[in-house]
């Protein structure tokens, strides 16, 4: 009787363990299929990052960052500290950024390079949104620019595309986003702020803006975008310069 019981127990435990493992495996496959696994899902903090990214992706599929009335614009907007700008930037600045270009390549039908004037000739959009730093401070500004989706449509995105890697003129400064954020209507290439040109201190002449993520994903001085299927081979594989510099999470929705 006792042996029977313990055998049954053992069998049940074995079945439960098998079911648990296959459920986890199935969950992982489904999560991968629906883009719920962040590129930094490995390592000791992988489980937390994956839970955060997956749950927020499911929750924010169609959500828009909060927009504010004009009266809530912070005056003056805060220009965060920056490392000194390089010679390439300074010479473009001397020419009034007339020669500033942003190139788009990778998994696109028509690789292209855009001048600021070209970007400004596209339909201009504005959003009064908050910029939130992971340190804890924040400000609200009116951001003026072209939705990234417009540029992506202009170059033609191939169906295999999964991420966009974007680079600053500072070679050590780059980051990446998934296609959900790339196509999001509030993801802008921003060239203006509060009715004026975007100040250099706030990322002018061209800054990517992702109001549903913390400020460090909104990289300043954008010169290059690459559409890619995999983030392997970019940097040390952490999918952005932030994890390599200060080991910051790739996904910054919280």
């Amino acid at each position: 009787m006792t042996t029977d019981l313990s055998r049954r127990k053992l069998l049940m435990r074995g079945l439960a363990a098998t079911a648990g493992v296959s459920a986890l495996g199935a969950a992982a496959r489904i999560a991968q299929k629906y883009g719920l696994i962040p590129p930094d899902h490995r390592g000791i903090y992988g489980p937390g990052e994956t839970l955060t990214y997956a749950s927020q992706r499911l929750l924010t599929r169609h959500s828009l960052a909060r927009e504010f009335p004009q009266t809530q614009i912070s005056n003056p907007p805060l220009a965060n500290e920056m490392p000194p700008l390089n010679e390439a930037f300074k010479s473009l600045q001397a020419g009034g950024f007339a020669d500033w270009r942003v190139s788009v390549d990778g998994l696109v039908d028509r690789p292209a390079s855009f001048s600021l004037a070209q970007l400004k000739s596209y339909p201009s959009r504005r959003q009064i949104t908050q910029l939130q730093c992971e340190e804890g401070w924040s400000y609200i500004a009116e951001w003026i620019g072209v939705p990234l989706s417009h540029v992506l449509d202009a170059v033609g995105i191939r169906p295999q595309a999964r991420y966009i890697v974007y680079f600053s003129i500072d070679p050590d400064w780059w980051d990446s986003i998934d296609m959900a954020d790339a196509w999001h209507p509030q993801t802008f290439l921003t060239y203006g702020m509060n009715g004026h040109e975007l100040p250099v201190g706030n990322g002018g002449p061209l800054r990517i803006r992702l109001p549903r993520q913390l400020g460090y994903k909104s990289v300043k001085f954008i010169t290059h975008l690459t559409v890619t299927r995999s983030l392997k081979g970019y940097g040390k594989g952490s999918a952005s310069a932030s994890p390599e510099g200060g080991s910051y999470a790739w996904y910054a929705g919280i």
Binding site: T60, Q130, E135, S138, G246
Partner: protein, 253 residues
């Protein structure tokens, strides 16, 4: 709580000692996981906090705006004018990873605990105060005993007194939910889906300030909790929470 068989123990210094299960395995395991998570959240939270030890009320706040108050501590960022001549090392990278990982673990553990105490009767029997508890006489006696640091009676060794019950209920059902809520209200992605979670608090900076105060309350709770464990008998209480076994009366020689 059903008591196990009374086994006379020769090791205990006081007569009439019973050894039985004081805490269920689930309560003990969730207690220690929560302890670990809380310490991880506290350390990482302090690291994140020192990158901007200023607090604001409303939607926005930065070094150009008037703070509600500042903590008189140095910062890990040059940007913040603290008056100290130095900048602390920046630890936000791992701190943010650890903070959210520990938060997930604490939330999942808390859910398991909360759901299970509804079914095991722990909530009804040990946490919700009974009619008798809520009389002024019992309340005032319990408060007076605490003020005199009087060790708990035999009966109290088997369940919680009214002050414990009310405090644990406050921590479990008010403070933990509030700290999770205010944490989520700082997330730009979460509030894009649930805007009311931050607007009812008065804004994102208000959420951050409330998050800080609730954390301070939880730290005070932890300190009082540990002091009370020491007053009640550190060894026996730790043994009860680790092995589940408790002996009565309290070990006092």
């Amino acid at each position: 709580m059903p008591l196990g068989t009374s086994i006379p123990s020769s090791a205990a210094p006081v007569s009439a000692t019973t050894v039985a299960s004081r805490y269920s395995a689930l309560v003990r395991v969730t207690h220690w996981i929560t302890t670990l998570c809380f310490l991880a959240l506290l350390v990482s939270g302090i690291e994140i906090l020192i990158s901007h030890p200023r607090f604001y009320w409303g939607e926005t706040g930065n070094v150009l705006t008037e703070p509600l108050f500042k903590l008189p501590i140095p910062s890990s960022r040059n940007l913040v004018p603290t008056g100290y001549g130095y900048v602390l090392p920046d630890q936000n990278g791992w701190s943010r990873y650890l903070h959210f990982q520990a938060a997930w673990m604490a939330v999942l553990t808390g859910l398991l605990y909360t759901i299970s105490i509804l079914f095991t009767g722990h909530l009804r029997k040990n946490l919700l105060p009974s009619q008798d508890h809520l009389s002024w006489r019992v309340l005032s006696t319990t408060i007076a005993n605490h003020l005199r640091f009087k060790p708990p009676s035999e009966a109290e060794a088997w369940s919680y007194n009214v002050l414990q019950r009310l405090t644990y209920l406050l921590v479990i059902f008010v403070m933990f939910p509030l700290v999770i809520w205010t944490g989520l209200a700082m997330s730009p992605a979460f509030v894009s889906a649930v805007p009311a979670s931050v607007t009812v608090l008065g804004g994102q900076q208000s959420a951050r300030t409330i998050h800080f105060f609730v954390s301070v309350f939880l730290v005070l709770f932890l300190l009082v909790h540990v002091v009370m464990v020491c007053v009640a008998g550190f060894k026996s209480r730790m043994r009860a929470m680790i092995t589940g076994r408790a002996d009565t009366p309290m070990e006092r020689t």
